[in-house]
Symmetry: C2
Subunit: 226 residues, 2 copies
């Protein structure tokens, strides 16, 4: 296994002083207690920081809300899984027999966790600066592709585009309640999407405004989920 | 204003090469477009990383779930506001007249944001390592106080303790649905707390188990919210 891991490390441009850290990063929890979950937790935190800092510098005029949304669009399970696939990380994962049979090496969550765990292993092995540079190189294309314009779109449009990008069904908005007299009505709308078990709600002075609030709340929920 | 900020910087053990960064960190958005929101975003990211890494090292046997919960217990609005109060940061905030009148310098969210913004300013001014050391010194007492035992408590107990610590009403559990035959019933329970606009639900093979799941989901929601 160590040898196989070495091949991947080389492909990723990494040389580990402590190769066991890299091997652990590739080891899914289905194998047993010694797995990549702690390294994934660590990698997630350095990744969040590095991308946040990079976006701060790259977009000196973007507000905090746009920066947070940009970060969530780069650092999420499907984006990380995509990067993991580009580097064929799935071929090198160490999985328990159940996960092996059910094709765990292809699953977004497992790929994404492994990539974050690799970042955690690199951080422990070579410190913040080396880890930062490797993460930035990994995300270079995605960072270069950001078009700030699209980040000023309204929440319903953003939610729709997010679901389309993931090839999922469009959000469903339902009017839950209307209250108040004719000239001062308020509307409550529920927003549901297939990728989130929870619905969100929004209240507004028109049905459309309530939908925008519900969509914004759903975007926040989905960002937290990633 | 610069002079006042210098007094605080000195109290915090900080010397800024670019004092305008520190002044910006103290400037609430009620003042105008040039405020601490971007620095807060940056500070939040380095804070998350530094605390995550520290906990990883301090608790070599803690699982990822415990580490995540520990981090959320240290890095949240009320914990940060408490630290800000210990250092009298409220006295040095630069607020718009409306916020000044309504006592914004005492508000948790404003204090917490300012403290994170100070971390962001320090990161820009002196880099990761200085910032990391300052954050660790700031959290030293809280880090030393962690008793790992309490983190193995069940979700309902943890949720109750979290609300008690914030002096809030206890969670409300409601049975929403029961289904299945007598020997294989499932229960669905809804959990609501006053500090979260959303309820969570849990399904289990007993009412108690469903409540635990709902409580766990609420804890996750609250952690994301902080």
């Amino acid at each position: 296994m160590i040898k196989k891991a070495e091949v991947l490390a080389k492909k990723l441009g990494l040389t580990f002083n402590q190769p066991h850290l890299f091997k652990t990063a590739l080891t899914h929890r289905s194998v047993g207690a010694h797995n990549n979950e702690r390294l994934e937790y660590l990698g997630d935190s350095i990744l969040g920081f590095v991308v946040a800092e990079k976006l701060y510098i790259q977009f000196p005029n973007a507000g905090e809300g746009v920066l947070s949304r940009l970060r969530a669009s780069l650092v999420n399970q499907s984006s990380l899984a995509e990067l993991a696939r580009q580097h064929n990380i799935g071929d090198y994962l160490i999985l328990g027999s159940g996960e092996l049979k059910s094709g765990g090496f292809r699953r977004d969550s497992i790929l994404s966790d492994a990539l974050e765990a690799i970042m955690g292993a690199l951080l422990l092995d070579q410190g913040v600066e080396v880890c930062r540079q490797w993460i930035l190189a990994l995300f270079a294309d995605k960072l270069a592709d950001i078009k700030l314009d699209s980040w000023n779109k309204d929440p319903k449009t953003r939610l729709q585009e997010l679901l389309q990008a993931r090839k999922k069904a469009l959000p469903v908005y339902e009017l839950v309640a209307m209250s108040g007299a004719d000239h001062a009505q308020t509307f409550e709308v529920k927003c549901s999407v297939v990728i989130c078990p929870q619905a969100t709600s929004g209240i507004g002075i028109s049905r459309k405004k309530a939908e925008q609030v519900a969509a914004e709340n759903m975007l926040i929920l989905l960002e937290d989920q990633d």
